[in-house]
Chain length 146, copies 2
């Protein structure tokens, strides 16, 4: 199952959040992009159709979506934060293009072995892991060659 805009709307309502035009607009931008987007980038995009929206609202909406687990944060993007709609609902990771910021998801992260060895070797009780790959997508490779 993947998240549709309607599905997300319904989840937000269930959890007591109102569905305002502003939130719809932010959702539309995030859902319509294959790339991870910074709050500022989302702001600029939403502004094209919704000139009056405030940056504060972008942050508020992002925080709600993040709290509900509907968007994912990408960590490799320099300093600031950067978000992406959650596409596979199960545990997964990201492969990010350093050229165009496109993100590909993958689910078969086989870290159980490493995790067990580490746990045995150090006595740590392991709680979570962070795994991301960065590379250049086929399109950007071509652009670079030409």
């Amino acid at each position: 199952m993947r998240l549709s805009e309607r599905k997300i709307s319904s989840i937000m309502k269930q959890r007591g959040y109102k569905l305002t035009p502003q939130r719809r607009a932010v959702l539309k931008i995030i859902m319509g992009s294959d790339n991870h987007l910074t709050p500022e980038a989302i702001y600029q995009s939403v502004r094209e159709e919704h000139q009056n929206i405030g940056l504060t609202t972008i942050y508020r909406t992002i925080n709600i979506l993040s709290e509900l687990g509907l968007i994912c944060e990408v960590h490799t993007a320099g300093s600031g934060r950067s978000y992406l709609v959650r596409r596979p609902l199960e545990h997964h990771h990201h492969l990010v293009c350093s050229g165009c910021n496109r993100v590909v998801d993958f689910s078969n992260c086989d870290l159980a072995d490493i995790e067990r060895k580490l746990s045995e070797g150090t006595g740590f009780k392991i709680e979570e892991h962070l795994l991301e790959f960065v590379g250049i997508c086929p399109d950007c490779q071509q652009t670079a060659e030409s």
Copy 2:
């Protein structure tokens, strides 16, 4: 080979950076800690013996050490940045205690398989990866129980 304070000093000199008392002091704090430290934490520690140092100098020194690859950034630590002296010089990753911030290094990250599959499946030319584990170290587990 591990990095000694002398080794780092020599590398900085080679690259045209002067060895000032302030930089020595920052180095001493970073080298003397098993934990990852935020710029602010480094500032506070250095200040205990070097009351006049400015926060600016901390940032400048961190940036140099980072550029020279002598310290590592830890990504799991909430929002801000956090640094640690580079202990294994080879490619490695971190296991971080969420209780006390202690960091354990490990080198045998066996991601070559995943990387190859991903590369074949997506056409991406993979450049780097980010892998970190977070858990609770034995000491902090005990503290939590008692």
